[in-house]
């Protein structure tokens, strides 16, 4: 090793010490390489495989077609302008449209991100005088920073990039009176602190199929347009991170299980989300839909590492995947600023069942659990089943928003119209508790009297291939190739609605036991029913709801309201819940690291050192 070191006799003592340290480090690396049965790579971070070129070509083709999709549209807004300018197509139309839009900017950070896309992606075809007018808007238009994590990510990414483009300008030239340098440093500081928080405690606005895109797009913009190599590297790593997060919990491009936020339509039609649009672009594992967020990824030049493709698409072996997230910042009614969120998802090619632990983990739009089954065309939707208590309370809202208690609900209903609706299909409840083990789940409710909307609803779509009510009270269903058994703990009414049935129960002490199985595990649906009917099931509702249930896989689950659940007599260890845990992703809480694994391949994102490492285990 020393022989390979180009010793320069003119080196100063510190430089010599540094050179020797490097030599020692190389020796250590070589020793590790020889000692351990895998190959060690530090850089470059991506190891090619026989599929790499093919996957890359396919991805690039989707990028090109998406950019063309927007560049060829006869009308539209900023994304169409950006793609046309990027392609050099319809430039007069694009500039005229841009001129119109610039006359009355609005939308705060939802103006900032597409405007930044035009500014950078379309830069080469923007005449100087147009660039000047665009620059002037950053002085005259006053975008609001917003009040959610995604707002801030978009806002500060835009501030970071625009002040990178105009680096030495005084406060008077910016809408907020702060100089280029002040804005740039503040934006950088926020973005890095958000990355650090996310990779140590999880996202606050976590796993939202609808808002997924507004995290991916600012990271794509940073990756594509930042000139600082360190920020570019961070952005690439955060893109890998966000994509890995979804990849392990997607079924044909649909984001399954528990979410921090979703919408009334999207909770039933999961394809209609930015997450699905972006996964079409990244992996082609779901049908095409035009999504501006995805177009920004395409324009950025980002390419997902191959390992993510496999994690996103290989569902040949069922697996349990756990994640730790956090609530958004709590400002009232809480001792902690960010309470932990424990996610649990069981994935298989035919179905997924996933959950949060229940309680108010996010205001307004939480989705606490569901079963989702694979269908031939994910665009059809209605391939999901879940329950909820439609809670509506200023208590929940003021936990997360600063407005006055009695004004709060009205303010929320302005933009989230179903929040105060008794028959809504989204939302959290402080009286809902959930426990899941593999593909069995127990959900319990203990709703105090006089609670607004004191009932429990269950969503059963009409797309179910089978639906049978057994005298034992079990409800048996088949969705795609998934058999589903649902045991309601309390009496209910069965109400028909346009595209679904609603299991409606007004019992305050309530709950359900859910067991899912691959259809392929049984000779017939009848055999599945027999197997479920033979399982041990003990339930009670008073003094509080509780369940003892032996699953199809032989585990005995005990869960009582307000008590720690047990599996085979052992309490679930929530204290040591990992940031990521499953066959594909591993990360310890607080680590600021994420290791991806697939078929002997490993990819480690280390945000402590802002580095990526890949290696391959030697497979006998």
């Amino acid at each position: 090793m020393i022989k390979n070191l180009n010793l320069n006799h003119n080196l100063t003592p510190p430089a010599l010490a540094l050179a020797l340290a490097h030599a020692l480090a190389r020796s250590l690396a070589l020793a590790l390489f020889l000692l351990f049965p895998f190959q060690l790579f530090s850089t470059p971070p991506r190891i090619p495989s026989p599929n790499s070129a093919k996957l890359h070509r396919a991805y690039q083709s989707r990028c090109d077609s998406l950019i063309d999709f927007y560049a060829n549209r006869p009308n539209g807004g900023y994304i169409e302008i950006a793609c046309k300018l990027y392609r050099g197509k319809d430039i007069p139309w694009a500039l005229a449209k841009l001129d119109t839009l610039m006359q009355n900017p609005s939308g705060d950070m939802f103006w900032m991100y597409p405007f930044i896309t035009v500014t950078f992606a379309g830069h080469d075809n923007l005449p100087v005088e147009v660039q000047k007018r665009m620059r002037e808007l950053w002085r005259t238009y006053t975008p609001y920073r917003g009040d959610t994590e995604n707002h801030w990510c978009m806002y500060y990414t835009a501030m970071y990039l625009i002040t990178q483009m105009y680096p030495n300008e005084p406060g008077e030239s910016w809408f907020n009176g702060r100089s280029s340098q002040e804005n740039h440093l503040e934006a950088r500081d926020y973005l890095i602190s958000w990355m650090d928080l996310t990779t140590s405690k999880g996202q606050g606005e976590f796993d939202s199929p609808d808002y997924y895109g507004v995290y991916v797009l600012p990271m794509a913009q940073l990756y594509g347009f930042a000139t600082d190599p360190a920020m570019k590297q961070r952005a690439a790593m955060m893109l890998d991170y966000l994509i890995a997060d979804f990849a392990a919990e997607n079924l044909d491009g649909l984001y399954v299980g528990g979410h921090s936020r979703t919408y009334p339509v999207q909770v039933l039609e999961q394809f209609q989300t930015s997450a699905a649009g972006i996964f079409w672009l990244l992996f082609g594992n779901t049908p095409f839909q035009g999504r501006g967020e995805a177009a920004i990824v395409a324009l950025s030049g980002y390419q997902p590492p191959e390992i993510l493709y496999h994690i996103a698409t290989d569902r040949s072996v069922p697996y349990v995947h756990r994640e730790l997230k956090r609530t958004r910042h709590r400002i009232r009614h809480s001792e902690v600023r960010n309470a932990p969120v424990y996610k649990y998802t069981y994935m298989f090619k035919d179905y997924a069942i996933g959950s949060l632990q229940g309680g108010i983990l996010q205001p307004i739009q939480q989705h606490s659990w569901d079963v989702t089954w694979a269908i031939d065309d994910p665009r059809q939707g209605y391939n999901t089943l879940f329950t909820l208590h439609p809670y509506s309370s200023a208590y929940e809202l003021t936990m997360y928003f600063p407005e006055e208690t009695k004004l709060m609900t009205e303010y929320v209903v302005r933009s989230k119209g179903t929040y105060d609706s008794a028959d809504k299909w989204t939302g959290s409840s402080p009286y809902e508790q959930i426990f899941q083990h593999e593909d069995a789940l127990i959900v319990l409710y203990d709703i105090p009297p006089k609670t607004r909307f004191s009932h429990v609803d269950g969503f059963f779509p009409k797309t179910l291939a089978k639906l049978e009510f057994d005298p034992s009270k079990w409800i048996f269903a088949q969705g795609g190739n998934a058999y589903i058994a649902y045991y309601p703990l309390a009496p209910y009414r069965w109400k028909e609605e346009e595209k679904n049935w609603r299991l409606h129960s007004t019992q305050l002490k309530n709950g359900a036991v859910v067991q899912v199985s691959p259809a392929s595990a049984f000779a017939s649906f009848e055999e599945f029913k027999k197997a479920v009917l033979s399982l041990t099931l003990q339930t009670q509702l008073k003094p509080k709801p509780s369940v003892l249930f032996t699953t199809l896989r032989g585990a005995t689950l005990e869960f009582a309201y307000d008590e720690t659940p047990k599996v085979n007599g052992v309490p679930v260890d929530y204290q040591n819940w990992p940031l990521f845990d499953g066959p594909f992703l591993q990360a310890k809480a607080g680590s600021r690291m994420l290791e991806m694994r697939y078929g002997g391949r490993h990819r480690l994102l280390d945000f402590n050192t802002v580095s990526v490492r890949e290696w391959v285990e030697a497979i006998p």
């Binding site: 609001y144 920073r145 917003g146 702060r178 400002i331 600063p402 006055e404 009695k406």
Partner: protein, 330 residues
């Protein structure tokens, strides 16, 4: 005769002097539409200055979350605003603005410039209290004991240097070291939504609370007693004391109309007539006209009464939600 002319001349000069030096202007913090949402194309919101009749001038940002206004009494051209995205400052009467805070400071609910040392400013935020001793150039997080998550209101003690009172989810807090350290004082056992001091009688303080009406202190905020009667169960967003007659007080909140007391807070009568917007978030007595009361409603703009609520005059800003209302010397 000469004596009378001289007296009249002197009186005229006095009046002109008074008017010229002490004329106050009314400013309000406004959300201009009830259908506002983040990211939507909203009409102008933020700071408005009353020009008389129903005429208002919008100043600075179209800020959708302007919660509080405070001016430097020694230099009224300097004004600080408590906003959802930080603390804004102007030093030229609203011509130019700067956000003085960075990403660490957000959801600023109220702000107070200390009148005895105007470089000292404290802001009440959803995440505690922040302070600056250079009028916003640098901000530091204050130490609160016990730590509350949420602070709603803050007022500088006009008679004691370095002293402020603040209110929030945990009740009333006091600092005597310029905002560095804060301690909870014996006070209302409810969230405190507004705090006001009588400038002319500085030991007299009034607090509005969530669900428990108003509380009064006559010892500078050291101890508090709640008002009885129907007001005692209300959410009170705004309180005011008439400096020229400290027996006159006003309070208002969620669906309350206006409560008036003419006996120093012992009894309160409720007025809901004369305006169609019973939820009121801001009110103030006119510092120059004894007994003149201004209210800022949620959804109906600004109203004024010269007879303690018997009759009201609408001052414009139709549809506006008025979050704060303050007078500043011109």
């Amino acid at each position: 005769m000469t004596k009378h002319i001289i007296r009249l001349l002197l009186f005229t000069i006095f009046l002109l002097f008074q008017t010229g030096l002490a004329k106050s202007r009314l400013y309000v913090a406004v959300l201009q539409t009830r259908s506002y949402t983040v990211g939507a194309p909203n009409p102008p919101a933020g700071l408005f200055r009353w020009e008389g009749d129903t005429v208002w001038t919008h100043l600075g940002w179209r800020s959708p979350r302007l919660n509080g206004i405070s001016t430097d009494p020694q230099n009224p051209k300097t004004m600080l605003l408590a906003c959802g995205n930080g603390v804004f400052r102007t030093t030229d009467s609203g011509q130019n603005w700067r956000i003085t805070t960075d990403h660490r400071v957000t959801e600023v609910q109220d702000i107070a410039v200390h009148p005895l040392s105007p470089n000292l400013v404290c802001g009440a935020t959803a995440y505690g209290i922040w302070r600056t001793s250079d009028q916003g150039e640098t901000w530091l997080s204050a130490d609160l004991q016990p730590k509350p998550a949420f602070m709603q209101t803050i007022t500088a003690d006009c008679s004691i240097k370095d002293r402020f009172l603040a209110g929030g989810e945990g009740g009333v807090y006091e600092t005597t070291d310029g905002g560095k350290t804060w301690y909870r004082v014996a006070g209302p056992d409810s969230a405190v939504l507004d705090l006001q001091q009588c400038r002319e009688h500085p030991n007299l303080w009034l607090a509005g609370t969530e669900g428990k009406g108003v509380f009064l202190s006559s010892d500078g905020g050291k101890s508090w007693r709640g008002a009885s009667g129907p007001i005692s169960k209300e959410d009170i967003y705004a309180v005011a004391i008439n400096g020229a007659n400290p027996h006159q007080m006003a309070a208002a909140g969620y669906d309350t109309g206006v409560f008036i007391s003419s006996d120093g807070g012992r009894s309160w009568r409720q007025i809901k007539k004369g305006f169609s917007w019973p939820t009121i978030h801001a009110l103030s007595f006119d510092p120059e006209v004894n007994g003149r009361l201004y209210i800022g409603t949620i959804g109906g703009g600004v109203f004024r009464s010269d007879d303690l609520g018997k009759n009201w005059q609408r001052l414009g800003l139709p549809g506006a939600e008025v979050w704060d209302l303050t007078f500043s010397e011109e």
